[in-house]
Symmetry: C2
Subunit: 445 residues, 2 copies
């Protein structure tokens, strides 16, 4: 198995640039901001997620002897540079959107203010950590919006991109309002509620489906959810009805039934009828199999009687928009604002702040991307979270960002809560920011 904790989770060029900064003694304060350049066309808003893991990373960053020896053996680095790395720590300041904050294109999610080498080295992993959870939170919230009153469970571990993706997808989905996850380690690590039913293999390993149902119920009497579609879904529903009185006599209630293949709508209607006719009106129906927000919306619009859903692959890999255009850019160095002017990738320079205006009823009424030192009306969204390399607050219990998302969602213009693409939420660029950019374009080359 693989441990993935290492300061060497970075791109080689970060180290070669650090060697340049070291040689030239460029240690002055740099300001980098992390933001998304454009939203995917399939997303009307994003939700900041992953800050806890990012702060954890920054607090613990250091080079081990083994890593330093390995770097030395590459022959790429000077001994004076390696000696500096031996005592390397992150000592900077971090401002960020609290996890669960809704944001839009070009709005900084996180700002790092630190000596240039420290702020530079952390780019790759900071993006890696915040990109993924932000990506998944955005996908998960769309599932919640499509099925707001249903039980949604993350089933995606097996086709998540590796172990860390599986764990962090479970976390991000829970923040976004999922009821829980099937991934056991995510339950242990993040205290997220766990859900699970049975797989087809349990049915197949028995010679008779009824026997499999009975054995499963006896071994797990508090959580009897039976999988119906291994052979014939409706026949299995009839077997459930026949089995229920025997289980009741043994003090066991069947809690639910899962359908995982075929026409999920038609099977649910038929199974619901069979169960209701058999007196199992309390038994809930749970659907799974290639689900996402679009499919959920279809099923619920058609009035299909599912009480909950397992959302797997399409959640954990965010298949309709599997990446975000998230970047981390230098905005100031040694007291001077800086601007990248690459075609199609120019940045807004300087230390920025997002000012969010709200109407009297709390509804979001437009953001201004401005400069930190020139306040604008509205709530400044970036708040200090780390100073001198230390967190300012203990990690938030996950319920707090989860509630924050729910509150922010209620304040979002309703058209942005739709699944289809909506006109962009208004994010104005403050005139002083435009002026700063224009001045830099004139002055510098």
């Amino acid at each position: 198995m693989m441990a993935v904790d290492s300061v060497l989770l970075t791109d080689l060029y970060q180290l070669t640039m650090l060697q340049t900064y070291h040689a030239e003694q460029m240690q002055e304060t740099a300001v980098f901001e992390l933001f998304v350049r454009r939203l995917p066309p399939e997303r009307n808003f994003l939700i900041a997620a992953g800050l806890e893991q990012a702060l954890d990373y920054l607090e613990n960053l250091c080079f081990t002897t083994e890593e330093l020896d390995w770097l030395a053996n590459t022959g790429r680095f000077s001994s004076s540079f390696l000696a500096m790395l031996a005592s390397f720590r992150f000592t900077g300041t971090v401002h960020a959107l609290p996890e669960g904050t809704i944001f839009f294109a070009n709005e900084p999610i996180l700002r790092v203010t630190a000596p240039l080498p420290e702020a530079q080295l952390v780019e790759s992993r900071l993006i890696n950590l915040i990109h993924f959870q932000t990506l998944i939170a955005a996908k998960a919230i769309r599932c919640v919006l499509a099925a707001p009153d249903r039980l949604l469970v993350d089933f995606g571990m097996r086709r998540a991109h590796g172990a860390e993706a599986a764990l962090l997808a479970a976390r991000a989905a829970w923040l976004a309002g999922f009821a829980g996850t099937a991934t056991v380690l995510a339950g242990m690590r993040f205290d997220i509620p766990l859900f699970g039913t049975m797989a087809h293999s349990l049915i197949q390993a028995h010679d008779h489906e009824e026997e499999a149902f009975q054995h499963f119920a006896a071994a797990q009497p508090g959580n009897v959810v039976l999988l119906l579609d291994t052979y014939d879904t409706e026949a299995a529903a009839h077997k459930m009805v026949a089995l229920a009185p025997r289980l009741r006599a043994a003090g066991i209630q069947i809690k639910g039934a899962r359908i995982d293949s075929g026409d999920l709508a038609e099977h649910a209607r038929r199974v619901r009828r069979i169960l209701d006719d058999g007196g199992l009106t309390e038994v809930t129906l749970f659907g799974s199999g290639d689900l996402d927000e679009y499919r959920l919306r279809e099923l619920l619009d058609a009035g299909v009687p599912y009480d909950g859903f397992g959302i797997g692959t399409r959640l954990d890999a965010s298949t309709d928009a599997p990446t975000l255009d998230m970047v981390y850019k230098l905005q100031e160095y040694a007291g001077r604002s800086r601007r990248k002017r690459s075609e199609g990738k120019a940045t807004w320079p300087g230390r920025k702040q997002v000012y969010r205006r709200t109407a009297a009823n709390g509804a979001f009424s437009g953001d201004v991307l401005g400069l930190e030192d020139t306040p604008r009306p509205g709530e400044p969204l970036l708040v200090p979270v780390m100073e001198d390399g230390q967190r300012l607050h203990p990690p938030e219990p996950l319920a707090i960002p989860r509630d924050r998302i729910r509150a922010q969602l209620a304040a979002l213009p309703p058209v942005l809560r739709e699944l289809q693409p909506a006109p962009a939420y208004p994010v104005d660029i403050a005139p002083e920011l435009r002026e700063l950019a224009a001045r830099l374009d004139r002055d510098r080359y």
Copy 2:
């Protein structure tokens, strides 16, 4: 930072099923096979990758005291079951396609033969490990096919889905023929060549671009690749030409230039002309920025003078096909073949083998999916790799599967090596397998 090594990287239902097997003493031998049900329309073939990590996982699988205590505290499991877990190990046999073997839909990549609980528990993580590397190898090989004689480097860490994805993507891309990766830890962990240039921030942190070039070259004299597009790409190329003699006088050769934005074709042509006119004909051009196999093909078909490319986000997230329909299914238990018959998801039962026929010149001429105990003409592709829970061979040096891929690619029908969708490679179902499936359908319910 997060460690991700744990037997609890599994779905909850594996544990609840194991509790059922424990209660019913269902410990007989089970045979599970891992395969891809359908290829994505964008893929004409796949390449087995990730076996090493899967074997590592199986060899080291065990429950820690902390994990057992946590499971006990959930209240879901009996003390007798937890006592069994305390001594749980994987003791089974594994057959697999060697890493780097080309395969198609329905062909087993891996077969686990073990007592039912052992074979069941490992499902989630085995898929998670093999799915991702197989996914990335397929994407990477398409980049190699699009640009076979160019230097290709994995640049995707920052937008890979987490740390493990970044590391394993670097590994899978190298297997598929990439020259290396930018991810330092992948270089250390897997001994993959590392590549890196500089970021825009290094340029921006200097007051003058020339000065940034000069400092970088001085600090990294053996690997001077300059990034040209921070402000004005052609102006930067002229600065390179002006700088070159001064660097030469100091014994430093400029090795390459990177272009990362704008019209990559047009800029490359202009920069090449500027460099050639300035006597820098040896300097190579390296392109990056939202590249994938389609874009590479376009650039090279148009004769754009790039010598190499950094492929990032679209490789590490395999954005045009971000998941595979990979599953792990029970095919036999207690000596009897088993068949799942779910609509659209029925499996071919029994212990299977893939027989690959080749023409006299070595070209692949069609596969047969048959039964292990009924040999068919052709090479049997699944080979034993683990017995009694122990590897049969030490891990292969990565150069071996890398060479295997190259050899297999040469044997693949040329139409399948094209980027556009091709008619499916012929995979016949052996008559005895069809008969077995039909018999199970008649006999069992």
